[in-house]
């Protein structure tokens, strides 16, 4: 236990700082009784927790905001009114030619669209007939055919490119940096 400086070897020490080497060096706080736990401590922890909860509730009440999309905001330099250019004055034949060209184009696109929709309709109809025949053959296979394919997703496909990739192409050294702006609420 805690030995006092006076009691063990009988030497009178001149204070807590001048004890002999043989004695246990005890300091004043060591000799004192164990600290009584303050009653305020659990209450303090509770208060801290309550404060945190209140802060959380306040923050949670605010609804989260969507990240603004840069595509939909026109940049400021396009709103400059000094750089507005008036519409060009076209001769009569030119405007006529353009109108007729638009009509030709719309007719072409309409035939294309109609052909596409017809093709889709035919495909769906053919599929339906095939499924009917399958149903007549066996009910189990028909049910299996109706079920969705779980292995289809995720599905990725690259669009075509103007030119095919070069055979032996040495790309210059470099790297990509992601500089997307990070928004915080």
């Amino acid at each position: 236990m805690f030995l006092s400086l006076m009691g063990v070897d009988g030497h009178v020490s001149q204070g807590p700082w001048f004890a002999s080497v043989l004695t246990l060096k005890t300091s004043a706080p060591l000799r004192a009784e164990p600290k009584k736990k303050k009653k305020v401590d659990p209450r303090r922890e509770q208060m801290v927790r309550e404060r945190l909860k209140k802060k959380l509730k306040k923050l949670e009440r605010v609804p989260p905001e969507l990240i603004p999309i840069e595509d939909f905001t026109t940049p400021a330099k396009y709103m400059d009114e000094t750089r507005v250019r008036g519409a060009p004055q076209l001769p009569f034949e030119e405007s006529e030619r353009r109108a007729l060209l638009l009509k030709e184009w719309s007719r072409y696109k309409q035939t294309q669209h109609r052909a596409e929709m017809e093709a889709v309709g035919l495909a769906v109809e053919a599929q339906r007939e095939a499924l009917e025949e399958l149903r007549l053959e066996s009910e189990e296979l028909y049910q299996a055919a109706l079920r969705p394919d779980p292995l289809l997703f995720p599905f990725n496909h690259q669009g075509p490119s103007y030119t095919p990739p070069k055979a032996q192409y040495e790309a210059p050294e470099g790297k990509y940096n992601n500089i997307t702006k990070v928004y915080t609420q």
Partner: protein
Amino acid sequence: MQWRKLRASFALHSRVLDQAGLLFRASVSVQHPIQGSLAFSNERQYRTMPTHGIGKYKHLLPKEAPKKKKERQQMKQIKTATDAEYGTLNVKVSGYDMILVEHYSQYIHNLCNRLGVKVAESYALPTKSTEVMVMPEQGTKMYVDAILKTHERIVQLSQLNATLCPTFMEVLLKNQPEGIQLSVKLHTEADYQARFKARPELEGLMAQMT
């Protein structure tokens, strides 16, 4: 004599009016029990007339729910795949050219409308900017070559028939423009949360609490 006659006539008149008023009040209370109480609250002269309330029409309109000014964005229910249909699908169109991306996403939306596929949502994800740093042949310092912006649009489909799916995918692939990447995935809550701004304070507090 005249005065007595007047009084009698007045009494008759008032009795008739009272009866009319009673009848009308009864009818009012039968049809509009809510407004009947109001009729008794403020005493106004012309409420006893039989034409009272003749211009009322609001009780005939369907009841509208009261509009809340701040409408919290609630996440729509993510549907799971059933026996004949897929769950909530995200068709993501991404590319460097914004016009092509937008037009292609509009085309997909119109196609879904035409084929009867339900479109739950159609939104845009924030654009990603990528800086291309190139190392020159002579020298060691990298310099910025270009800034590429990747635009993304998402069309969310809710009930896609499993039989219609292959035809739908074929049409999409046939009409894919150059340089556009098409990806079809299942919708998750993480995808939905990625659209919102990050809240570091909230996350710090949550970490502190647990």
